[in-house]
Amino acid sequence: MTNHWIDLQHSDVVLIQGSNAAENHPISFKWVMKALQKGGKLIHVDPRFTRTSSKAHVYAPIRSGTDIAFIGGMIKYIIENKKYFEDYVLNYTNAGFIVGEKYSFKDGLFSGYDPKTRRYDKSTWVLEKDEKGIPKQDKTLKHPRCVLNVMYEHYKRYDLDTVSSITGTPKDKLLEVYELYSSTGVKDKAGTVMYALGQTQSTIGVQKIRSLCILQLLLGNIGICGGGVNALRGEPNVQGSTDHAILYHYLPGYLPVPRSNRQTVEQYMDAATPKTSDPRSANWWGNTPKYVVSLLKSWFGDAAKPENGFGYSWLPKCDVHQNCDVLHMIDDMYKGKIKGYFCIGQNPCGSLPNSNKVRAAMTKLEWMVHVNIFDNESASFWKGPGLDPKKVKTECFLLPATANIEKDGSQATSGRWMQWLHKAIPNPGDCLSTGAIVTMLMHKLQAMYKKDGGAMPDGILNMRMDYLTADGKEFDALKVAKRINGEFERDTTIGDKSYKKGQQVPGFGLLQVDGSTSSGNWLCCGSFTADGQNLMDRRGKEDPTGLGLYPNWSFAWPVNRRIVYNRASVDQNGNPYNPARPLLQWKDGKWVGDVADGPWPPMGQEGGKLPYIMKPDGVASFFGPGPGDGPFPEHYEPLEGPLKQNLLSKQHNSPIITIFKSDMDKIATADPKYPLVLTTYSATEHWCSGGITRWQSWLNEAMPQVYIEISEELAQERGYKNGEWVTIKSARGQLDAVAMVTPRIRPFTIDGKTVHLVGMTFNYGWLYPKNAGDTCNILTTFVGDGNAGTPEYKACMVNIAKKA
């Protein structure tokens, strides 16, 4: 989230698209309902009428996976009707910058595409620069190649008829949403976008979110109270695990993963550090080298020295274009390329797409170690449906882990609040925290390396792993928290202040490139003070701004800033655009309100800096280059869909996605055998694959068995009765479920034809309870977003038959 949960109450219009917030983030509705009570309006755009829709002023049905068409139409509407917030767009975005002459877009493809590698050469996706290297701009917006005009040209094709034909949203609903939401494009109104997996779980997920960013920037809704692009993360500590790099393609603090073409730390840092020639741009990522060296110091301590590149060469490196996301991992596993697998706190056999392929992949392993608080369909895959345990060669281990209430540590909320939690009850039986399990494993590995040697020993032997408690029995989360914050690695004097070795670094502004500081994640620097205060543990309820920022409650990264890019909430002179909700104000030579995005004065004054400090040009970008599939979001169809041809271009699917080609990756697009669109989701009552909640009797009581939601029209056409069992089939597998016939799902008109949509949850599994059914992921397609690899759970094609 750019903003935070409590801030939702300040919205004048809440747009929930790609999220069923009332069901999957119930507490968010505490704040949404407050916004509505103050006169705010709620729009819900979703394939199904859900508990969220039931509270909306406007509900707009949409065919799953077509959000870019929907939002592209809104971008067109806003530019055409000049509904954008002009002052913001001119000063804080690259709307007036000039796009290079060589950029083009034709037949659904941007310039620079190579069909052989399925990759773009981004060298034409650039802005024209003057002799000093500063982007040229035309603030009159008359230049035909200025970003706003090029963007309008791109979205001109997204007219109401085309958008309605793709999305299935009736034209009057599209207009109603466009009009209501764009009413926030004025200085004293705020619109917020709440999204979740409904946007990300798609082959074009990253670009869907970019389209929401473009929308919010046009309306001046980022950096302000009640605004923002707000990803709803949840109970699994998604925010914390992303911050600390649980994904393969970056290191903690959003530093890029090392690749084989960057062999030295200098090469790596040079490529990772953006440059600017514009003195008005803070270009905060210019500090990257300090964060890289401090990260390496946190891992390798004294062994990390300038002469060995601080141990950079010991890090494993991906090949230049190597993709190691979870789908590529499972595909490699299925091909027999992976011998062993550590699976910690996950249930891939229920939660990854094409479960039959995932379950088959597990049988190719020599060993699997599963760490979890309960048994699940992955830990016990070897006795799953259709498998003979005697014939499965994989040796399986299940290590019992403690649950979150049984250990100390931090959980980060969607609003980037790192909240410290205290162990409430002792470890049950011989359970250990995952931290202890990993640390003990590393100790064992280090001892074996010391004794016997092995491949790439330096990274293993030099890794600081002094993270167990004094008795050696558990994980010392506080010690890790201090090291994540960062410590002085030697006695150091900065300016007129001296720090002792081992003291915490007060903030990331003091992290150094010379190896005198360490920090396990620069974003968290400042969360643990030099005098030993754990700011994550704060529970102060003071609210000095009256806006619900609660600066003394926990610690929000970065530097306790509650709303990021907050300097975009003020005009050139530092006065709030909306005086009724003054997030920030320049008063008597300093910023008052939230922790400002940097100390510099407002733009209109000497030494003023542009507000988008993480962007090299200091402004937010409508025009990329950004993601690998285009400088603007473009609509492509889901890999498996009801249409033969994309209605917007000749390019049917995203041109950059990996198409997996194993014998288990069958795809049936526009195939009369599978005429129904399936979308998948989770219910309030269960969590993810149900790996925890299916062991809770009160939750099973409320949502006991697998079901498929279908429209009354489809039920009538096919003769299905509410409550009867049916069989659902896709090109990849089949399962049974109870038919839930409901007016909350209705047929779409797509390209002039009736298309039925059905929906299922992935909350169930064969292991427990016995009669509950299995996961809908038996049906879904094994394909992911071209940039992030997130599987396309939200759209595939199926058919239904009465249960035989």
């Binding site: 009552e685 939750l699 009581e701 109870v738």
Partner: protein, 214 residues
């Protein structure tokens, strides 16, 4: 007797998350029922001696429109100001707490005429344990509110439930209904004068639940 306590259930703010339903079972130590998926989100199907709080789900299409509606009715005992069910209580098997107004079914309800108790309740609330014959229902979390705590359902609710002094809750209900009436002409607080658990609805109560209104 003072005015006692009241609970406000504002269905216009309820998202049907069922936190109240689970919180009720947790606090009262009530076992889960063996349920099946019957083609609805509503489960268990009805009140029972193991289910005092139940979110009822009602869906349909708005009159003259394709637009669906989905109503959530977090059903529970209304704790009537003058409880008709007490007609079945001859020897204080059912008691009304003077301070709070909570209507409490004691273990001794195993001796009362269950059909009379249930039949006299306009909201169809009391249920009997088929084995012990004890009749039971929501206690307003009597054991919590006597210690200054909120009822479990109210504590768990992120959006729709309020608990407090009856006069304050009546005032709150009046304000909310006045606000809602601007958009929903049918908005009302059901039987507010006669019950302590007051439901605000925005449509015909029958659309929410057969026994929503007396």
């Amino acid at each position: 007797m003072s005015d006692g306590k009241s609970i406000l259930v504002d269905t216009s703010r309820c998202t049907g998350c069922r936190g109240c339903q689970v919180a009720c079972k947790q606090w009262n130590g009530l076992a889960a029922e063996q349920t099946t998926q019957r083609g609805t989100y509503q489960n268990p199907p009805d009140f029972s001696h193991q289910t005092y709080k139940l979110v009822r789900f009602a869906e349909g299409k708005r009159e003259g429109s394709r637009e669906p509606y989905w109503y959530f009715f977090s059903d529970m005992c209304r704790h009537c100001v003058n409880p008709p069910c007490m007609v079945a209580s001859e020897n204080n098997e059912i008691v009304q707490d003077e301070e709070t107004g909570a209507v409490i079914y004691t273990e001794a309800t195993k001796n009362i005429d269950f059909e009379m108790a249930r039949g006299s309740c306009p909201y169809n609330v009391p249920r009997q344990n088929p084995e012990t014959k004890v009749v039971s229902k929501c206690t307003m979390c009597f054991d919590r509110i006597k210690s200054g705590m909120k009822p479990a359902c109210v504590l768990a609710c992120p959006t729709a439930l309020d608990f407090g002094e009856r006069e304050d809750i009546l005032k709150l209900a009046e304000e909310r209904v006045a606000e809602l009436k601007k958009v929903y002409p049918k908005a009302k607080a059901i039987d507010a004068e006669d019950v302590r658990v007051i439901f605000i609805v925005t449509d015909d109560p029958k659309k929410y639940h057969e026994f929503a209104e007396a």
